[in-house]
Symmetry: C2
Subunit: 220 residues, 2 copies
DNA sequence: TCAGCCCCCAGTGTATACAAAACTAATAAC
DNA sequence: GTTATTAGTTTTGTATACACTGGGGGCTGA
């Protein structure tokens, strides 16, 4: 593995999981030393992350990890909504029915996973990832897939802010199941509508979680 | 201006306008010398272009300019369609009516521009760019704007392949005018529908142009 | 003649040294 | 007291040298 890729992956993880909090300044020498690479590959990683929109040049402080405000969440969903909708439509048109039928079955048992403690939650997230992957494969449009990947990067960051509310997760699982079943039924319109519903609920939840988190932070 | 930015811009232009044709291998030393920068900033530029999807790592030949096949055009429109639709919707919700009313007026006179030779065509393209800019400003969502920008990069490449058919340009101007008027009327649904129509026609035209071009190339 | 292997070299990947720019802070002038 | 200017220091940006890898071509042996 190239040093620049290694640096990129490491920084990406640190930013997504919050180790490098929003606003953190990233000095080149400091990060290079921390990650055990020289400045050259590190700079390449940084420039990638800038393209991803995860870091930005802030006047006076060099590169800093971008912030995630409530407005950002809304704005992100203004991109997410049309992208996922299109993805669902295309998957309904072209997806491998076998694959999605299998996923549907697993989502029917999502409740059990969600109630299964940390390991279960992890398994549930894993299931979601497999769904994303299946959709990406079904789409076949490299451009759309690439846009989705970039989107999911930012979503992962937001998700970390949301508290894990089992009630919400169960509801989300049901919403997702409707989408998958629409795909299995080769019903693009239904898949699109179900996606819109899911997006709406997901946004509402993300905002609530972020708001309550803001309050928590203010109090503590 | 930084050398890496300069290299990026130069390569970007060369790729979009076809100077660097699809499939061209980009050797680092060669390009660095051509552009008058050292390998370090050049590599940064290359890694950006790779993120943009304009160049790719092809096994055995290093980095090459990505190809634009008929399938690619279809796939690109599978991303373009939802993005532009969303953009139009948001612009209809939030856009500065003054700005779009002004643009509408100018688009009403598009015929004159299109018939006005190369200078007129250029002015018409310029007008389109101003529309794109106005929409981007109206949107305010950084994520969507960024996705649109990336999209327009690839579109510019395709547009180069299309022959400039005045008939098609006039039709496109009318389609666009409908979208703008919907924005002025604060009618998101109409803006979305008009955009879908425009996308459909635009895709059809792009495919036809690319197909006839393919034939031309085979014959010559 | 053809297959397989090895060597060489072109080209990429990384480290480091050097140049330039920008921020900080201190001092001086108004 | 405030502001502007400048020197110093830190940090970024660029060039270059070195290391490493992968591929092509040629040579040898069957």
């Amino acid at each position: 593995m190239r040093a620049s890729d290694k640096a990129y992956q490491a920084l990406l993880e640190d930013i997504v999981d919050g180790t490098l909090a929003p606003g953190t300044a990233l000095a080149e020498v400091e990060q290079a030393e921390r990650l055990g690479v020289s400045r050259t590959p590190l700079r390449e990683a940084l420039s990638q992350l800038r393209k991803d929109g995860l870091i930005q040049q802030t006047r006076g402080r060099g590169l800093t990890v971008t912030d995630v405000s409530l407005d950002d969440i809304v704005e992100l969903y203004e991109l997410r909504q049309p992208l996922e909708q299109q993805a669902a439509k295309l998957a309904a048109n072209r997806g491998d029915i076998q694959v999605f039928a299998q996923l549907a079955e697993e989502f029917q048992n999502a409740d059990r996973l969600i109630e299964g403690g940390d390991a279960g939650i992890k398994a549930y997230y894993n299931l979601n990832e497999r769904l994303d992957k299946a959709i990406e494969e079904a789409i076949s449009s490299a451009y759309l897939v690439s846009a989705l990947k970039s989107l999911h990067l930012h979503l992962a960051r937001i998700r970390r802010l949301s508290r894990r509310d089992p009630q919400r997760l169960k509801a989300a699982a049901i919403e997702t199941l409707v989408i998958i079943e629409a795909i299995v039924d080769r019903n693009p319109e239904l898949a699109a509508s179900a996606t819109q519903v899911h997006m709406q609920q997901s946004l509402r939840n993300a905002l609530e979680a972020a708001r309550s988190r803001e309050v928590t932070q203010r109090v503590s």
